[in-house]
Subunit: 316 residues, 2 copies
């Protein structure tokens, strides 16, 4: 486990490294949402990123950082979601295999995405213990290099590159708000944003029903999540030692939001902006909806984290 | 009824006139759709246009063209759909009232949109006869100026401005394909595209279940649609004398598509591009799906006409 803390320079280097592989995703505005909420919002659209999610940045950086020896037998991870697809695609671009341990109950659409990008899936029971055991077996069998979805220096550096592009386009944001699950995006965003603009406030938004980051941040001790249950299925995971350390030192505040507000925010983005975001992406806007007075008239950057959703299972 | 045929110069003038009011919408590509269909597609995203539809261009041009006397009592139209919302917003921007005659069975979301933009709604029975009678009454009562959704010189000029922006960004298209309902977008697109690039082929795409444009085009006589029934609810209308005359002289071919292909194309755009388009917008891509060999390896421009859809009534 790599506990070294990334510096802004490392994120800049990551950006140079992955530029040719990723989309510099657009920043969109919505006059109608601004007028409803009385704020000035800017949305960095990582739902348009390759593999449909910001995680392609971190996965690409981690895969590109591997030396010939480490990459020889491919890469491995356990994930029920977006990291699995992102890592599969990142590995494919370097012509190495990706071994993905997925729980049996992973959604069809996530399984399909991993297969589309050429990932080799091994299924296991859905407990963390079963996933870790199966990952160990896969690593032993294949010799593949493990790339953790967020407790990884290179992954965090890759996730931070979205903030570099964002602040290049809109330098004078008052706030930048991102959803927090494992904390990879939040960690990279906080380090990069504070280095570029020391006056910016970095906020995280988290579902009340999976609020380990909020509780850990407020108590100053790492408290893993217990039985999270939220529609924001990308945010079910707990922080890791590395992301917790970065977040407690670089994030200004964490706001928690209700499930219904997440759905309302998602619907607002779909209807007003005509773009598809997954529920996890809507959590940051939900925090603005629930804290209108705090944010009144401010210039706020939101990273829309991803757009992978099963159209057969919409919450509306 | 204005039967004068717009020239390219009129569309250029319309573009200068409305530039400050409209969005220059982005042109998007999708590597994954290109690789599935083996074509090079470019999508002009009028689903991101104000009021969520290209019709805001034509409505704005028509409203801006009114002189002080004509605009004195506002504007009126009958429409169950996007033209009603677009005209309401265009009128609001010029601080004049819009009187909208809508059938009682118009969808809630369309009624809501008209109200949001400040349109004054009068409901009537859903027959064409009832709509025209009610429109006459509203005009008599208010003195408002009637702006037809497509059988109108200024509206057609406005719709043609999307093609100017499109071909500025991608000049060397082999084909440009747009959906055809009343034919306003198709007429404006055909005139502008052929003037800018005489080698371009202008195609229309139409649902088989509302194929009056196809039949009129092939027979060389205007045949109004009989009992159209398609998921592409923006394409239920028939051509008008003006649009038929333009289309027969400027369009290269019309392709008809099945309902299921429209749904498949719409789903492909939602899933692969992460953007929301209404079924009418997906008809052009459906024509590519049904004619892969015709279009193989070609550079094709598609105008995604709009993004107004009731999220509670999705076809998947």
């Amino acid at each position: 486990m790599d506990k070294k803390i990334p510096a802004y320079k490392n994120i800049q280097e990551a950006h140079e490294r992955i530029k040719g592989f990723i989309h510099d995703t657009p920043v969109l505005k919505s006059d109608s949402i601004n007028s409803i909420l009385k704020v000035k919002l800017f949305f960095k659209c990582e739902n348009f990123q390759k593999a449909g999610v910001f995680k392609y940045r971190g996965a690409t950086n981690a895969v590109q950082m591997l030396n010939e020896k480490s990459m020889k037998y491919g890469v491995a991870t356990h994930s029920s979601g977006n990291h699995a697809a992102a890592l599969s695609l990142a590995a494919k671009k370097r012509d190495i295999p990706a071994y993905i341990v997925m729980p049996q109950n992973a959604s069809d659409i996530k399984i399909k995405a991993v297969k589309t990008y050429g990932g080799n899936i091994t299924f296991c029971k859905s407990t963390l213990d079963a996933r870790e055991k199966m990952l160990k077996k896969v690593k032993d069998d294949t010799g593949a290099y493990f790339i953790h979805p967020y407790n990884n220096f290179d992954v965090i550096c890759g996730q931070g590159t979205a903030a570099i592009e964002f602040l290049e386009k809109v330098p004078d944001l008052d706030y930048i708000i991102v959803p927090v699950g494992g904390g990879g995006l939040l960690s990279g965003t906080a380090i990069a944003s504070k280095a570029i603009n020391p006056n910016i406030k970095v906020y995280a938004a988290e579902p009340k029903k999976a609020d380990d980051a909020y509780r850990s941040f407020k108590k100053g001790v790492f408290i893993p999540v217990q039985r999270p249950k939220t529609i924001a299925d990308g945010l079910l995971t707990s922080l890791s030692p590395l992301t917790f350390e970065i977040i407690r030192n670089n994030v200004d505040d964490i706001l928690t939001v209700k499930e219904q507000t997440i759905i309302d925010a998602m619907r607002m983005i779909w209807e007003r902006m005509k773009i598809i975001v997954e529920p996890s992406s809507a959590v940051a806007l939900a925090s603005v909806i629930e804290n209108k007075y705090l944010f009144r008239s401010k210039k706020i950057g939101i990273i829309l984290s991803g757009g992978n959703i099963d159209l057969n299972k919409l919450p509306f």
